[in-house]
């Protein structure tokens, strides 16, 4: 009888353990965006100086949209990478920041101290963040020249990721 119980228990537990072991390969917080391959939600927002920015006006070359905030430590880590990336791809790629749940005065102070890599747009009611399915900061969306979301990076983007993704988008033309 004990052998039967052991066999039955193993048959019951083994699939569960395999399932859990496979689950360790994935970060439970990273869920693929259903927006990949779909047109980027169009928006109109103001930047910190009150200038109006329309996403539709930027069609024709790749756009990087980074949702960030000053309270977000990974965003601070990522900041120099975006500054360097915006400089390297200047004239070929548009870099846009969307302020995520933060106060404009804190953003201004942060940018004064550390420099800016592109306009930071204010999204006071979080409507744009919700339209992009943002979970937290930072999240970066890469939009191709035709206005389609090509990739999304959750967490701080690395120089290697930036070059790989933007290289691919620019090669597509």
């Amino acid at each position: 009888m004990n052998r039967k119980v052991l066999l039955f228990g193993t048959l019951l537990v083994a699939p569960l353990l395999i399932f859990l072991a496979l689950s360790f390969r994935f970060n439970p917080n990273l869920i693929d965006s259903p927006l990949i391959g779909k047109p980027a939600p169009a928006f109109t927002l103001r930047d910190l100086d009150g200038e109006v920015v329309r996403l539709r006006d930027l069609a024709g070359r790749p756009v990087v949209i980074n949702f960030w905030a000053t309270w977000c430590q990974p965003c601070i880590v990522e900041h120099p990478v975006l500054i360097s990336g915006a400089r390297r791809y200047s004239g070929r790629v548009t870099f846009l920041g969307v302020v995520y749940q933060d106060r404009p005065e804190l953003i201004r102070q942060f940018l004064r101290e550390r420099g800016a890599w592109g306009p930071s747009l204010l999204d006071p009611d979080n409507g744009v963040a919700l339209a992009y399915g943002v979970y937290g900061a930072p999240e970066t969306f890469f939009i191709d020249a035709a206005g389609v979301i090509a990739e999304k990076v959750t967490g701080p983007v690395s120089p290697g990721q930036l070059d790989r993704i933007l290289g691919g988008l620019l090669a597509r033309g």
Binding site: F24, P28, A42, P124, D125, A129
Partner: protein
Amino acid sequence: MTGVRATPVLLVAALGLAQAAAGAQAQPEAPPPVEAPVADPAPAAVGFGVEDLLLGEPAGTPLSGEELDRATEQVAAKMRCPVCQGLSVADSPTDSAIAMKREVRRMLSEGYTPEQVLSYFERSYGEFIRLAPKPEGLNLLVWIAPVLALAAGAGLVALYFRRRPRPRAAAASPAEDPELEAYRERVRREVGT
């Protein structure tokens, strides 16, 4: 048997490790757990924000007052808070959930139906946003599997009781069992009764 006994421990440990494997992302600190007021949509932002919800025309009637409050709560209760663990948007005090609730309210006040609202968020967040997945395709397993498991368990129990050897009928009485009667006689002799 050890493997079976160790299972709960393994499962708890595994789930704990899976939780710990979170990405390098940040969420704002949650405000104190009080019911946050959801303001009506700000009229000043007309023309700004998302230009097109891509939902077509609103398919319902615009709601207001208590009806809007009730419908907002009902829809928010069906949505998963994206930055919480197992909380609905209606129950979560986080900024993200409050923003979602505000958007739900805005859409319902414009005449979008609850299903249109859920579809809008589903397009951005995927089916994950629905606390109860739609009963279709593989999702049906969520409803069917527990019933099947229960039926299988009941079958196993029935099988076990059917195969178990039946208890013997009444034990043989001493009068019918000469061997037992011999022992009884010996006891009587030895105790002198």
